[in-house]
Symmetry: C2
Subunit: 130 residues, 2 copies
DNA sequence: ATATTTGCAAATAATTTGCACGTAA
DNA sequence: TTACGTGCAAATTATTTGCAAATAT
């Protein structure tokens, strides 16, 4: 009963390899362009479907850009962590989940990352809803 | 030279009043629907343009939903702060920016918010880009 | 009077879907 | 062989834009 079979196909390998080669959030369109540039013939819809597939499998993280475009990063969450994103080149560094006042400093020391902005959101249930 | 004149119009007052009445991130479409329901005749494009206007003025914060749809909250950042978002009703509470390990507990005590998930992102310049 | 804002309809842009064909198992 | 994946073109959905008419100043 049930577990769905899963095929290893060329498009899937291509897309995964493109994600694997760069520590950056990439949009579906960017992935598609790089694939073309590398001589890999994949359709944009396959890129979308493969990304959905990877999301479901848990091998990828998404992030909505401020303009609403979705971007994807190869990221199997070994441990719960967050991301430091370079606003110039987009490079992503993993940051473990322990937040303090000296966070920026330690980040700078440990990762060479100079943090000048951060955002966070908390989700749960408010007093009225309990 | 130059400060642009700014008109106070009914659509703008309407949209602001709708945002003001609820501590929740609302999409342009939701705002538009509520306006109609309240007998306010505004076009959806005006909703979008007014939201852009409020964003530029700094009276509103945006947040992209996971599906990419943009949502808006009346939020003039008196001090730098973050948001606690109820995942059941969407209610937003302000949270001042000091993050510790006992964060969830203090949030629960101070705001009645039961946090079971959070996300954060850091932006800056990575080692390679300096 | 005139600069600014609005409504409407059409244009964009990202993403999704239906379906016939291709392919891994 | 057959369930699963892909390509293509068309459909959806959120958002933006051009322009003539309305409105705040």
């Amino acid at each position: 009963m049930g577990a769905r079979a899963e095929y290893v196909t060329r498009p899937r390998e291509w897309i995964t390899s493109i994600l694997a080669r760069e520590p950056r959030f990439l949009s579906a369109a960017q992935i598609h362009e790089r694939a073309k540039r590398l001589g890999m013939r994949v359709s944009l819809s396959t890129v979308y479907r493969t990304l959905d597939h990877l999301l479901a499998k848990g091998g990828v993280t998404t992030r909505a850009q401020s303009d609403g475009e979705a971007t994807y990063l190869l990221c199997a969450p070994a441990q719960h962590h967050h991301h430091a994103i370079c606003r110039r080149c987009g490079r992503v560094d993993d940051v473990d989940c322990s937040v303090t006042d000296q966070f920026a400093q330690s980040l700078r020391a440990r990762h060479g990352f100079n943090i000048d902005e951060h955002a966070m959101e908390f989700f749960g249930t408010c007093g009225d809803c309990r």
